[in-house]
Symmetry: C2
Subunit: 231 residues, 2 copies
DNA sequence: TATTGGCTCGATACACTGTATCGCGATGAG
DNA sequence: CTCATCGCGATACAGTGTATCGAGCCAATA
């Protein structure tokens, strides 16, 4: 007869697992889903299913879907390491910029959630605090101005990168396929002769490492700040 | 007996008006709805209703909703006037930056549609062409780099402005109401003592004209470009 | 111990979305 | 006048966020 202990009992099919839930577990699951398949995968039904729960159960922990999205955003802010205190303002801002870029590349949906609501979560505030702190200017208005400009550039640049990245992925994997898909349309456009500069860009420009392009733009901003404030 | 001609026959209530339709009419209606009530107002049903048509009728002119959104975006690009040929690169880029900002403020939904797909509509291409053309650098890579950095900043900055604007509108109309609504939370946060710089910003910084802030950031970028390329 | 109260969970429902399918009705051709 | 064609839109389907409410369980009280 077989009455050995079953160490890993398979869940009875009817009631999969009444695992305890928490905000963090929900946010974690939502992020995992979003990382895997984009923001479309984040619905209360799908998140709940990923946690073996009914959709309505989530409302005990999260008021509304917008709140869940806010929590996801704040979680990403928490992943970004602050600049070391030893860094001067240029190094510090560069550190922050790269941190945001890296986080946004890990979580492509992050950049899509920027327009919804201003980010006032604890992690976002900590992130902002450390960013402000790394810029040691005396005049607080100058600090805000510099940080604001850098952040605006960073968000704009990262969004551009991700949009392009998504487009490539949609059309097909390779650059070559993209050329074949959008080539005819662009060729027709260029053939009209109304876009000489665009033609030059497409034919003569060297396609460079995205990170180098990002850094070059960032350097413009930092250099401009330094020049203007005489640093 | 009354058999006079009825010159203006009221539409029979069942069939309001079989007005002819076109892509442009549809896009125009969609933009009007979006301007009035945000992107949420743009659904095939609502757009069609605004044109006295059934929802399915639109599919004769527009393949999919994403296409409609693309058309709306391109229409906005068409509203932005190119810089005058006489402008040097700084004036030209400033002109473009202000044009984009103004357009995005007229159509707050515009900035939300940037992440979806790269903008390859005819108006967007024309816009890009004139932007490239206004930067008369010899090296095409330098042109791209400068234009890319400026556009990244502009989109990031404008998005920030609009996000803030929306937040103010959501919480309530006035700044004072906002203070009362979010004040307690922020005060509690600041009271922890973990955000000294943030506290300084909130208490000591002068709240300046958004356009001046935008211009200052833009000047950083332009100044950086000029300095780096020795102009 | 029996009962009752409360609370947690999720099934159901509602209004809405984008879009596929298909039948009706008007319009043009023979 | 009849027939065919085709554009339109009613209907349907799968999905969304979320309000409502009933069932079931757990704990405390009689």
């Amino acid at each position: 007869m077989s009455n050995e202990t079953v160490w890993e009992r398979p869940e009875p099919p009817g009631k999969p697992s009444p695992a305890p839930l928490s905000r963090d577990l929900i946010v974690e699951a939502a992020i995992r889903l979003a990382d895997g398949g984009g923001l479309d995968e984040v619905s209360f039904r799908k998140v709940a299913a990923a946690l073996n729960a009914g959709p309505m159960r989530l409302y005990g922990y999260v008021e509304t879907k917008d709140e869940l999205l806010d929590l996801m955003v704040d979680e990403v802010y928490g992943e970004i390491t602050p600049p070391p205190p030893s860094a001067d303002w240029r190094e510090g801002l560069r550190h922050v910029a790269h941190g945001v870029r890296a986080a946004a590349k890990r979580h492509e949906w992050f950049i899509d959630l920027l327009s919804n609501r201003p980010h006032q979560g604890p992690n976002a505030l900590t992130h902002l605090e450390s960013t402000l702190a790394t810029v040691g200017f005396d005049d607080i208005d100058e600090v805000m101005s510099a940080v604001g400009a850098v952040m605006a550039y960073v968000f704009g640049a990262v969004r551009g990168e991700i949009t392009e990245l998504r487009a490539e992925r949609t059309t097909g994997m390779t650059e070559e396929q993209w050329q074949r898909a959008n080539g005819p349309y662009m060729e027709r456009m260029l053939a009209t002769g109304r876009y000489p500069m665009l033609g030059k860009v497409m034919h003569e420009s060297s396609d460079r490492d995205p990170e180098a392009v990002f850094d070059e733009g960032l350097d413009y901003v930092l250099l401009g700040i330094a020049t203007k404030h005489g640093l």
